[in-house]
Symmetry: C2
Subunit: 405 residues, 2 copies
């Protein structure tokens, strides 16, 4: 594969991410909270109210004026008058109390709750056997979140815990990033999963099942965006062009796999050159060198094309670095290597790793299998490390940043 003008990983990343910055300014949809799980917030979200909204009881018990109970104990119980009113509207004075369940508002006049375990109720009186200080067993207004607090940042992934917080805040719908992504695989040797009956058919016709489209489909789902798979295009310029134009029309971004090099059959890049502007073709990374990225304008709208490798491991790494990491960067931890890693100056290496636990220590173990076609290697990985282009490798025990799947 001969690619001229290879650029560095960082330069390529900047070109792609700046393009996304521009595009994502206005790509959102509104979803209800139950559908927002795993989507990406389009904006900063602040609570419209205090949580709790009112002082409420944190326990089942009796609302009191705390000062009335000072000194109360098993041996020195204090007697209060039980007010038999709905606590929502009631008010109490000195030596009075009102029965409350957890979550009920603290009535006017009261400032603490005695747990019912320390009270004996009889004939309109309550014997209190434990003193409480002001606000004991009271969940106070704004204790969890204050009105106007930032609860979700623009770009943050919505978790189930955010959904609890959004619901509590009475927020029913939010704006999330929305991007329609068309997936196109090319290659005469490919057959789509739906287009064969049994394995012998594949073997006899020397066919390879298209695994890139299903993989990218689920990678995009995982990112919280909206993928569509197009039927695989044969190595035929007209067919590739028609598929790309249709997909561009129906999506914001398209991702092609295969045909990225400069071969006789590699029409993808040729076609894209005709309909758009290739911004990247070839990056100093391994795996994933033949990565391409193009911009084109269709129906007055800017659209992007990611040109990924036909090899699943290479396309997975290209997707990870140039697509997924824009929308949801991986968490990382610094951990020691358990053996040397070699690398090549001038090239950024993405090395798949496992985490190994030995005697209460966690180590990074680089996976030895490195072929870009060997998809089974990536299913065994817990994550990866990135070795910068100015590094020749690392010795065992070096501390590296491990990005975690």
């Amino acid at each position: 594969m001969l690619l001229k003008n290879l650029i560095s990983y960082n330069k390529a990343k900047n070109i792609v991410f700046n393009s996304f910055d521009e595009m994502m300014k206005h790509k959102y949809k509104i979803v209800d909270i139950l559908s927002s799980y795993n989507k990406i917030s389009f904006e900063d979200i602040r609570t419209p109210m205090n949580l709790p909204m009112f002082n409420k009881s944190a326990m089942d018990g009796y609302a009191v004026m705390a000062k009335d109970t000072f000194g109360a104990s098993e041996n020195n119980p204090i007697i209060l008058n039980l007010v038999d009113e709905n606590p929502n509207n009631a008010e109490i004075g000195t030596d009075m109390c009102i029965k409350l369940s957890t979550g009920m508002p603290i009535p006017k006049g009261a400032n603490a709750v005695v747990m019912k375990e320390y009270c004996i109720e009889e004939d309109g009186f309550v014997e209190v056997r434990k003193g409480v200080h002001p606000y004991e067993n009271v969940a106070r207004i704004g204790e969890d979140v204050k009105k106007g607090d930032l609860i979700i940042k623009k770009g943050e992934v919505i978790t189930p815990y955010h959904i609890a917080l959004l619901s509590s805040s009475g927020i029913k719908n939010i704006k999330v990033y929305d991007l329609k992504i068309g997936l196109i695989s090319t290659g005469d040797e490919l057959v789509d999963l739906d287009d064969f009956n049994d394995i012998d058919e594949l073997k006899n016709e020397y066919k390879i099942v298209n695994s890139n489209s299903p993989m990218l489909y689920s990678l995009i789902k995982e990112t919280g965006l909206t993928p569509t798979i197009y039927k695989r295009a044969r190595d035929n310029k007209e067919e590739i062009k028609n598929t790309i134009l249709k997909a561009l029309d129906e999506n914001d971004v398209i991702i092609t796999t295969g045909g990225t090099s400069v071969g006789d059959r590699d029409y993808t890049v040729e076609v894209i050159k005709e309909i758009g502007n290739i911004l990247i073709h070839g990056v100093q990374i391994r795996p994933g060198k033949p990565f391409g990225f193009a911009k084109c304008v269709l129906n007055d709208e800017e659209k992007f094309i990611f040109i990924l490798s036909g090899y699943p491991v290479a396309s997975a790494v290209q997707f990870e670095l140039f697509f997924r990491n824009y929308f949801r960067a991986r968490k990382y931890v610094y951990l020691p290597l358990n053996r040397n890693i070699a690398s090549t100056l001038g090239r950024t290496d993405v090395v798949r790793i496992k985490l190994i636990n030995k005697n209460n220590k966690t180590y990074i173990e680089p996976l030895r299998i490195t072929g870009s076609g060997v998809i089974s290697s990536i299913t065994k990985a817990d994550g990866y490390v990135i070795i910068n282009e100015n590094i020749e490798g690392y010795e065992k025990s070096s501390i590296l940043k491990a990005y975690l799947f």
Copy 2:
């Protein structure tokens, strides 16, 4: 909250997980590969074929007998006869070659591929300017996966990379765990997200929005199983009983939140005692002490009821420890603490943490906010540590297992 017979975390976990072991023996559905993302495999999956299925070219170039090219170089090119046949059926002999694109089968007789960059084709001859050794640029049969290799284990979560491997193997459908889970929240003070118009309405009526059902709904989605939310039940024994019976009829498992203690309004446990057998009520953990678990038989089928706390942080932790961890245990890393944590002997503490990176080291930082109602604390966490019941706490710099969200 007075609970008798608190049991240990480990004892409770064993009771729940053994029950799941029994139930999950026969709870599966068959899904197509595209729908299998994030689901849990019901069985060990082995490839029905070698990957690749046949020796194929890893490059665009010319298939040759390697021995014919030994010694070839820029200055000493070797001339081969070009066979103009479909490589799928062709066979070559000495001094012959066939043009191939990446992915095409290696024709009979050939055992290596010279990259086209090192070849010049003219008039039925190819000038080869670089020697290749046997199997150079050939992806060999079974190099990635051998027929019969285990590619996914029973209980493993299906990732996009598994989906690539399943597709490559020609596997169109798989069995995944399937469990229908009904979600019931109880409490007069609760209002469902759909059942109010604006925030003032909540404030004036002292209502709290039901956040447990939406949170558990998305937690279950995240686990790859099938949740259904039921309308919140008021603190009325009949209403709770009817809702539970309907949900039990329509699901395999139900999860209730609220009403777990022994209060005047706490009918949930009372109702469940009438229709089933309570196996756990109260566990020595914090947060989450009032956890309950029950078994009942309906329509000749065993069903389980998880009785969770009404406080969202407590119910989130109970769900994590007793439900999610059965289906998909969290990854963990050993890391040092950046300050002391106190705990109480005889109780298992679940402490939410953040990971902090300082000078190429990652530390565990316990989050200080500990109220079980303070849902905002959990949205800020990167994970948690579990402090066993026989530990009184940890000093700064101790190495702990951090479970990662």
